[in-house]
């Protein structure tokens, strides 16, 4: 009897876990505000699609620009990020829930030129902002705006 109960529990967990992971992945975290050039795209669930102004951006999307591309992004907390040509940026984690005191922003700037302007998250919880780059980890000590260039 006990064994059946454990089996049932395991089964329920097996069904629920991927669902919650999926819900986490599919959260809208911002949108495209502007693009330039023809080669600007969003990589989501292994598929690449062209990016246009007002397109939604989801957690764990990767943003790509070609040799003449550039993109401007507005996150839900008003963080502004723009990226120039030949860029690759992964929106790994974003959580902004001031009522629950939950903050997280984790971006992976793989290559390209980046302009970052802090929003409310960076103001309320600078330590919750972390960037992975090809040369190491960048963390905010207080609200900070910066520009950066990285190569692979």
């Amino acid at each position: 009897m006990k064994k059946t109960a454990i089996c049932c529990l395991a089964l329920i967990l097996l069904i629920l876990l991927p669902l919650s992971a999926l819900a986490e992945e599919k959260r809208v975290i911002g949108k495209v505000k502007g693009t330039r050039g023809s080669m600007v795209s969003i990589l989501r669930d292994g598929k690449t699609k062209p990016a246009f102004p007002n397109d939604k951006i989801y957690q764990s999307d990767t943003i790509l620009t070609g040799s003449d591309g550039a993109i401007g992004i507005l996150l839900e907390d008003n963080t502004l990020i723009s990226m120039g040509p030949i860029g690759r940026l992964a929106m790994d984690k974003f959580k902004f829930a001031p009522a629950k005191n939950e903050y997280e922003l984790r971006l992976h700037m793989m290559h390209g030129t980046f302009v970052y302007q802090s929003g409310l998250l960076g103001k309320l919880a600078p330590h919750a902002v972390e960037l992975d780059t090809p040369v190491g980890r960048i963390s905010m000590l207080k609200e900070t705006d910066f520009k950066a260039k990285f190569s692979e």
Partner: protein, 200 residues
């Protein structure tokens, strides 16, 4: 032929070489409110703090020590980031509109803000405008909820009449539940009789 231009053009790649040969760097931008930020970069070999506006840290690769903060040429920086800067979004802008006592009529001062709201919408090509109504604590709770809704609706109608599309606006209302200036119940406070318009 203007030789000054030629010299500038010729020297440009040389100037850029200062940055160009360095493939990885991070520069502290001046922030809008006159405050200077601070960040830390950590490689496998060490870490460095950047807390001076206009200075940069250069890093060769993951296995090297970050450079000391170094002053960089502002014009050079602008040139290098011009493609990103051209599409860099404008920060969302919020407006507070105030109302006459126990009324859904805007004060004269707030009526004058409407053109600035329309300008903010136009500049951002905004499709995301939230309109949030509030009251002060004078009067009954339920009455104030309805009054805050009516106030938000008035602002919606004004913007709608100026050709802002309905589907681009969202109305919310909080009655006396979200005070700008905290007060005791039944206190008349003009600054709490407001509608906040956020243009994103």
């Amino acid at each position: 032929m203007n030789w000054k231009i030629v010299i500038v053009l010729l020297s440009f790649p040389l100037l850029m070489a200062g940055c160009g040969s360095k493939d990885n760097f991070i520069i502290l931008s001046p922030s809008g409110e006159g405050q200077v930020g601070a960040l830390e970069i950590e490689t496998e070999k060490g870490s460095a703090v950047l807390d001076e506006e206009g200075k940069a840290i250069f890093i060769d690769d993951r296995k090297s020590v970050p450079s000391d903060p170094t002053a960089v040429n502002r014009a050079e920086t602008q040139a290098l980031f011009q493609d990103a800067l051209r599409v860099h979004p404008l920060m969302p802008q919020s407006f507070l509109l105030y109302f006459k006592h126990n009324s859904d009529q805007l004060t004269e001062g707030s009526q004058k803000l409407i053109p600035y709201i329309l300008e903010a919408v136009r500049k951002r090509d905004s499709r995301d405008i939230s309109i949030v109504g509030h009251t002060d604590r004078q009067g009954e709770d339920g009455y104030n909820r309805i009054l805050s809704m009516e106030r938000a609706q008035v602002v919606y109608d004004i913007l709608r009449a100026q050709n802002v599309k309905g589907e681009e606006m969202t109305i919310l209302y909080h009655g006396e539940g979200n005070l700008l200036i905290p007060t005791a119940d039944e206190v008349a406070e003009p600054r709490n009789r407001r509608v906040e318009v956020m243009v994103r």
